[in-house]
């Protein structure tokens, strides 16, 4: 099937989400601000839960709210990510498949991304992710060569740097938002930090 590109911002936030809750299963949604057709560009992600992933109400709530936010900001939900608490097992759980199915109903080229906890050691060289795509109503492993992370070395460096300086503590997922609704699950602050680190030489806004 088609190519999938993962942006720095999306990767770093997923990575920090997994690092913030190392003993929990975590999940979230992958978003795109590009127009449909051609490669799927995952430009952002929304971290959702770190507890009780298989329970329905909060997941439904989160999906609805993110959907609404996407339509307000010209984005769309193009995929789902999850990291299992059990590091040795990075296969999609039934709840992951269910949510991914729902997303695929609205977007044909949806992707299911599993973070491979076993590959997240400090000196890892390859992106610790496994991607699935929908073929013939089943989620099948995607060909690694169709997955692109532009400037991977830079992205990896940014993720490590932010983890070391404790920036992962700034990340707000939907679960944390419900514990304190003044917290922003769109993570604008974190997005700005990532943007700063990604382009130090430019005088961008």
């Amino acid at each position: 099937m088609g190519e999938v590109e993962l942006s720095c911002r999306a990767y770093v936030k997923m990575y920090l989400h997994a690092c913030l809750f190392p003993r929990c299963s975590i999940n979230g949604l992958l978003l795109s601000s590009s127009s449909a057709g051609g490669a799927v560009c995952v430009t952002d992600c929304v971290p959702l839960l770190h507890s009780h992933l298989p329970l329905a109400p909060i997941t439904q709530l989160a999906l609805t709210q993110v959907d609404v936010w996407c339509s307000q900001t010209q984005q769309r939900i193009v995929g789902y990510y999850q990291a299992n608490a059990c590091v040795s097992d990075s296969s999609p759980t039934p709840c992951a498949l269910k949510i991914a199915d729902k997303i695929a109903e609205q977007f044909n080229n949806a992707v299911l991304l599993m973070i491979d906890g076993g590959k997240m050691s400090p000196d890892y060289r390859v992106p610790p992710i496994v991607m699935y795509e929908r073929k013939d109503s089943r989620w099948t492993l995607k060909d690694k060569h169709t997955i692109m992370l532009r400037q991977w070395e830079e992205t990896r460096a940014i993720a490590s740097q932010m983890l070391e300086s404790g920036d992962h503590m700034l990340l707000v997922d939907f679960d944390s938002h419900l514990d304190d609704i003044t917290k922003d699950w769109t993570n604008q602050k974190l997005n700005n930090k990532i943007a700063e680190l990604a382009s130090p030489a430019n005088g961008n806004v």
């Binding site: 507890s51 009780h52 329970l55 329905a56 109400p57 609805t64 419900l178 609704i181 769109t186 604008q188």
Partner: protein, 296 residues
């Protein structure tokens, strides 16, 4: 690198009290516990008196969490010297072996404890956790079931709801939560979690139960946002169901409307003054509008 006491301008008593608070609240902020605990033990160990033993235990467990085996071993050795025959310390040894993924040796430790004391809940819990960590989910559930059938111990139930949920045994999760609610009737989190399980199981009867328990959770804590949203969603779904009579529909629309007002109010309050939350406030408003059930 600056010490904790320098960075935060605290004395050793404050550090000791912080550790106690984290113990009492069952916090798992292991990095912080290691930072504070390590300094407290090395610089002020002599001032702690008998408190030092429980601090060694607390720091040891936190150190395992942070892969600080050096620190964990130091604490463990002190505890072993002081309490040579203790089951509690033996369990800590087992936990260290688990952290090093030496599961067979860890199991031997726990089996030894259980031989001496078959009612030792902590050791049973650890054995089940090992199965879970090894990905042996079916065996883990079997052990858990067996244990739950013979012992009604809330300590075990507490970790139990997450467990069956992970493996989609919602019925078991509900059972554990029912037991927990009986022994902890004022705990709004159990009520809310039970409601979520019922909602997930689906069907009209379960939805009505879930609505009742979301409402109960709110009575116990009127700031539980999950319960508020849960009440809104369950009542809305019931009202929209073709199987309910006019009165039930009307009642549930009232509940849903009430919940919606509370939600809106909470978000307006939260959004006041902060630009950041404009998106969440707007998203919730739109969501509530789109989910509104119209009178037919």
């Amino acid at each position: 690198m600056a010490s904790v006491s320098e960075l935060y301008d605290v004395g050793w008593e404050e550090m000791r009290d912080k550790l106690r608070k984290w113990r009492e609240d069952n916090c798992r902020n292991s990095e912080q516990i290691v930072d504070v605990g390590e300094e407290l033990i090395s610089e002020h160990g002599s001032k702690l008196g008998d408190d030092i033993w429980i601090i060694y235990e607390q720091v040891m467990i936190a150190a395992l969490d942070c892969s600080r085996d050096d620190l964990a071993l130091t604490c463990l050795q002190e505890l072993r010297k002081q309490f040579p025959d203790s089951h509690r310390v033996k369990r800590l040894s087992g936990m260290r072996l688990e952290a090093l993924e030496r599961y067979d040796e860890a199991n031997k430790h726990y089996d030894a404890i259980l031989q001496d004391d078959p009612t030792n809940t902590a050791a049973r819990k650890r054995k089940i956790s090992i199965l879970k960590a090894q990905g042996k989910s079916a065996e883990a559930i079997r052990e858990l079931n067996e244990y739950l059938e013979h012992e009604a111990v809330s300590v075990l139930y507490q970790s139990a709801p997450c467990f069956p949920c992970d493996f989609h045994s919602y019925g078991k999760a509900a059972f554990c939560l029912e037991e927990l609610m009986m022994t902890n009737p004022h705990n709004h989190l159990y009520c809310e979690q039970y409601a979520e399980v019922k909602y997930t199981q689906g069907g009209l009867e379960n939805l009505e139960l879930s609505r009742k328990y979301f409402a109960q959770a709110l009575r116990l804590n009127n700031r539980n946002m999950r319960a508020l949203f849960g009440l809104y969603m369950s009542a809305s779904h019931i009202a929209a169901s073709p199987k309910v009579g006019a009165k039930v529909k009307k009642d549930n629309m009232k509940y849903a409307a009430w919940a919606a007002t509370q939600i809106n109010r909470a978000y307006k309050l939260a959004g006041r003054g902060t630009k950041e939350n404009k998106c969440s406030v707007k998203a919730v408003e739109e969501m509530l509008e789109s989910m509104q059930i119209t009178m037919s």
